[in-house]
Amino acid sequence: MHPRQNGIREHRIPDPIHGTIRPPPWLKSIDTLTPVRRMTLIRQLGLKAYIDFPGAIHNRYSHALGVMELSVRLTDLLIAKLEKLGRPNSVSNLKSNRDTIAAAGFLHDIGHGPFSHAVDYPLRKFSEKTHEEISTMIITQDLRDLEDHGIPIESVNKIITGQHRFRFVSSIVNGPLDVDKLDYLLRDSHHVGLKYALDIENFIENLTVLGSDPDPDKCELGLESTPEAVTNAEIFLTIWKGMYDLVYHVENSRIAEKMLEHAVLAGCADDSSLRELFENPRMIAELYDEKLLELLQKAPGFPAATANAIISKRGLFVKINDKELSLESFSKISERFLESLRGPDASEASFELSEKLSRELKAEPFKIICDIVKSRAPHSIHVDEMDQQGEPLELSSKSPLIDSIKAKIRLKTYIHPSLQPKLEAGHLQRTIEGLVASW
């Protein structure tokens, strides 16, 4: 869309979540590059559109634009707010990083593998890089043109990895209340068809920079200490929980995504060309959704069967077991198994458990999938108010709702439909308990 303004075409991008996005000049210089265009070929919600949510065909590029737009809005709002409060250091840091923050917002997910989080684990296992590390690799190698616009590549990468010298700058894109979450929650809910509503403008009005202006490297992005801010945060976190429980972890899509993950692992074990591809971050950076499905269809056995099951929605695994992973349900959990649950997900432990369980039950490889599902809970959201020892108050001390969103871990087991008549649920559970206890 190019409306004329004073005879000059102004590029505007219509967006279902934010209305109109006006792309900044630096975006034009990178917008036609392959790594940027690749984002249009990666679905934001992995396999959700294939299985449970046919509307969820939006891609990483639209999310990237949304995060960029919100980064700019939040940065400008904080600048205006801090100018009124007389905090020149914070204002100066935000002004000098305005385009850098926006670029980091746009590029934070450029390193995602096909189907987004669904192949995070094989990607990490074979390339030994996280998708954030692949993002910074792509930015460093392919997007140097940004520096012609006064955007330092190193600062972009530090914001994306949460290591910028000024944490409140990083936190705009990568923090407990960042614009990444704001965009994906609202964009994803819109596209799956759940009409959750959060007034973004009203919400970001409640954010501020906590800390002391002469000491900006210790400042933090947090919430204003007002009842309105607390209520807005409660709405945000309720939507967050709703999206995890009802969309991101919803059962059939989750099964398909775990099958895809295992299909890539199986393919890499048997097919050296697929393995070489996943070992090379440069080659991963050229993969996209349809291409991965094509590659899997050419790999005989479980990978091809999985690709076909995803496309046809026939032959998906079935859930046979689902228990909370706690000492209420398991008599013993070994400390080594406990350690394996740390980190953002527990994919490695899930995969190892799947392999061990298959061996114990004498099942063929890749017919049983264990899935450790960790519900997400906010670690710490700080409010602009001190306790008696000079500590910031936790949001949970202002809202009982926050602590009710506790982290939970569930252990689920999915099996190939052909195994269903042969496996006895009680025996399966006892075998899993034995493995978890003796890990």
Partner: protein, 138 residues
Amino acid sequence: MSTDADLALLLSTIYLSKKHVKGRKRLQKTVCVLKYEYGVPFQFQFRPYFYGPYSEQLAEAINVLEAVGLVTEVEDELPSGVTQYDYYLTKKGEVVAEDMLTKNIPEEESISKLKKAVPKISNLETSELVAIAKSVLH
């Protein structure tokens, strides 16, 4: 020692602190001081923060211990009206911690360091602990 022994050390730390630690802040600062002042090999990364050292990985670790039922978080309303969050070992948490301490898990040297350092730290006021934590990280 294994780099993935943080949860075992954390559980033992709470056990040796008379089976509870009062306040999230106190837990954060205790582990920071144990790591940097006493050389207990926690792998948690701490960052300087406006209010003293803080580790998101430690916050995540305590969530895991709570989720599996080894630790419980109890709200404590202080006279000032501020809510403090205290961590107590559950009965099962006590059994697991005792077992690990008896068997020197994850390893004898780190358990020995913990046994010496935790009682000293437990006797400090939280404000003193915060001051030490700030000084060891900066």
